[in-house]
């Protein structure tokens, strides 16, 4: 909250009135799918935060073996059944949300600021050498398929969650650079930017206080939609064994472990898979809603 106030004082965020928020919420709530997305995301976040308190067997999230209860089908005691070590799948799925969300949040926090700043600079200095340098480097990263680059990095370094996050971050920033570049380079020709230049405003002011506020809507939309993509990518890395390592209850790791027991012991695989699908659906619907709000504001 303090940070938001600070940004408003600096002029990066526009000062808002209660009615603006009401308007935005009205626009957002017009679409039931957006609201559903918001509900899904909120529920998942709350479950992840409160995981130790809401799960039936919190100790099953760590190293735990109970072969007596291994591979139990879903029952009242174990709603999602148990896995090959006798651990409660529901517990592990809810803890799995934690890792997925931490991964998404960390990567997007790491990636967004440099991506956006580079995009602003390149867009503002369009057709100068600095634009060429930044955008060609971005192109190189974009040209390599994300999973392939992440695989390469994770297999060279020690495979763990941290390295997986670094690998994904490394190839994710150019998308923000490109998004902001496109907007900044066209906004740059707008008369209101020319007006600021005639006045003699600094380049810093023009980039961060004139151009950036006009990009925030698109950036926020992309962050929301990207959360889903980052979770998919993170899960994919874990699935091939290059992300979080057992016994961490990562949804991707759980998928790959369970796959060996398909189709008889289906619940070890199906429930984590559904969990991934639900998070992704939630972020996508939410992202669409966010986009609607900002698209409405733009007109």
């Amino acid at each position: 909250m303090f940070l938001l106030e600070k940004l408003k004082d600096l002029g990066v965020l526009s000062p808002r009135k209660t009615e603006d928020y009401k308007k935005a919420w009205y626009k957002f709530s017009r679409n039931p799918f957006s609201v559903a997305g918001l509900v899904i995301v909120i529920v998942v976040v709350i479950l992840a935060i409160l995981a130790p308190y809401v799960t039936p067997y919190p100790h099953h999230a760590e190293f735990f073996v109970d072969f007596a209860n291994a591979n139990q089908p879903p029952s009242l005691a174990h709603l999602f059944g148990t896995d090959q070590f006798g651990r409660d799948v529901l517990t592990r799925v809810i803890f799995g949300f934690r890792y997925s969300l931490i991964m998404a949040a960390t990567i997007l926090v790491i990636v967004t600021p440099p991506g956006v700043i580079l995009g602003l600079i390149a867009g503002y200095y369009r057709d100068r050498w600095i634009d060429m340098v930044i955008m060609r480097i971005a192109d190189i990263f974009v040209a390599v398929p994300p999973l392939v680059l992440a695989l390469a990095i994770c297999s060279v370094l020690e495979p763990n969650l941290f390295n997986a996050m670094m690998a994904v971050s490394l190839m994710w920033w150019p998308w923000y650079t490109r998004l902001v570049y496109g907007m900044a380079s066209s906004l740059r020709m707008e008369p209101f930017i020319q007006a600021a230049e005639i006045i003699g405003a600094s380049k810093f002011h023009i980039m961060f206080k004139e151009i950036l506020p006009n990009c925030l809507g698109a950036i926020l939309t992309k962050v929301t939609l990207d959360a889903a993509w980052v979770i998919i990518l993170g899960s994919a890395l874990s699935f091939v064994g290059l992300g979080a390592q057992p016994p961490t209850p990562d949804l991707g790791t759980m998928l790959s472990d369970g796959a060996k027991y398909m189709p008889t012991v289906w619940w070890i695989t199906i429930f984590p898979a559904m969990a991934i699908a639900v998070i992704i659906l939630g972020f996508n619907l939410l992202g669409d809603g966010v986009r609607d709000v900002f698209a409405a504001e733009a007109h």
Binding site: S14, Q194, A195, S202, P213, N214
Partner: protein, 322 residues
């Protein structure tokens, strides 16, 4: 003796390189603006009048030629002009919907020039309120966004922003063409009042000849990047020399016979301004000219001073040179 000119533009050229060739948006024009006057620049779309304004204010650096402001060379882009000179020349854009940042409040917009030029530090509310009152807008507008204002009100905000730094020279780039007719007169009257009040000199760019007649003291007419005729307003409207001026003046729609009598003999307007990439050889106006001579498609005419202060660039007057 101090010069009577606040602005001198000498042989100004602005060419744009595009993939298909070179666009000569402004091609060797010269004019001066005197202290306290409104110098009008008219022309059809694509004649280069707006580009001229943009070069003078520094949004584009000129390809060649000089811009002298009070005798100081300003022939560079705005980012290389010294800060204390930047505030002397301000600009009001055509469409206030795009010249005001939709994400910034009116206060933030008007405050910017005050802060950049150190006119007020810290809270500038007081000064912003004064400026809003000056353009006859309610002080409560401070916290609003441009999108919450009407078109005329936005243009007044843009004018307030231009006046915030006490400039001496303002470029008005079609300041009323994007507005409702009902608000145009109000804006023009306000601009004329401020001109007297603050000793401003205007470079007034418009395609509206009737408006020009009311506001400008001298008028230059541009065609394909060149000035075709430059004269004091009276002279320009009562004794136009260039066939292009005659053509445009005779195409002003009028209602009464009186007005009709004031217009030059009907010259049928033919054709449209050619593309800037294939400028006709010789005098660029010759394909549309009703009085063309043999020389016209071969030799580009020079600027001739026919009577004091009245310049025309046309072969018809070669023998009349003073």
């Amino acid at each position: 003796m101090p010069s009577e000119n606040i602005l001198e533009v000498i042989n100004l050229k602005k060419y744009f390189k595009v993939s298909k060739g070179v666009i000569k948006a402004v091609d060797d024009i010269s004019f001066t603006v005197k202290y306290g006057e409104t110098f009008g620049l008219v022309g059809e779309s694509g004649s280069g009048k707006s580009t001229t304004g943009h070069v003078v204010v520094g949004l584009y650096a000129p390809t060649s030629g000089k811009i002298l402001y009070e005798g100081i060379d300003m022939s560079m882009g705005v980012e290389r002009r010294p800060l204390n000179l930047k505030k002397k020349i301000q600009m009001v854009f055509q469409d206030p919907a795009t010249s005001l940042n939709p994400k910034r409040t009116i206060k933030q917009i008007i405050e910017l020039p005050l802060k950049v030029h150190g006119i007020s530090h810290g809270d500038a509310s007081q000064k912003v309120a004064e400026l809003l009152q000056m353009v006859e807008l309610p002080v409560e507008y401070m916290d609003r966004y441009p999108t919450e204002l009407g078109g005329g009100e936005r243009q007044m905000v843009a004018i307030a922003r231009a006046l915030a730094v006490n400039p001496s020279f303002i470029i008005l780039d079609e300041p009323t063409s994007a507005l409702d007719v009902s608000i145009q007169a109000k804006i023009i009257n306000m601009l004329m009042r401020f001109q007297k009040e603050f000793d401003l000199s205007y470079l007034f760019i418009t395609h509206n000849l009737s408006l020009m007649r009311n506001v400008a003291s001298r008028v230059a007419i541009m065609y394909l990047g060149k000035i075709a005729e430059l004269a004091p307003t009276e002279e320009f409207f009562y004794n136009p020399l260039h066939p292009y001026t005659k053509m445009l003046l005779s195409s002003i729609p009028v209602i009464t016979d009186e007005e009709e009598a004031m217009k030059p003999k009907k010259v049928i307007s033919t054709g449209e301004i050619p593309g800037a990439l294939n400028v006709p050889p010789g005098c660029s106006f010759h394909p549309r000219c009703p009085e063309r001579l043999e020389i016209c498609d071969k030799v580009d005419p020079c600027m001739l001073e026919i009577s004091p202060g009245h310049f025309v660039r046309c072969h018809l007057y070669n023998s009349m040179k003073v």
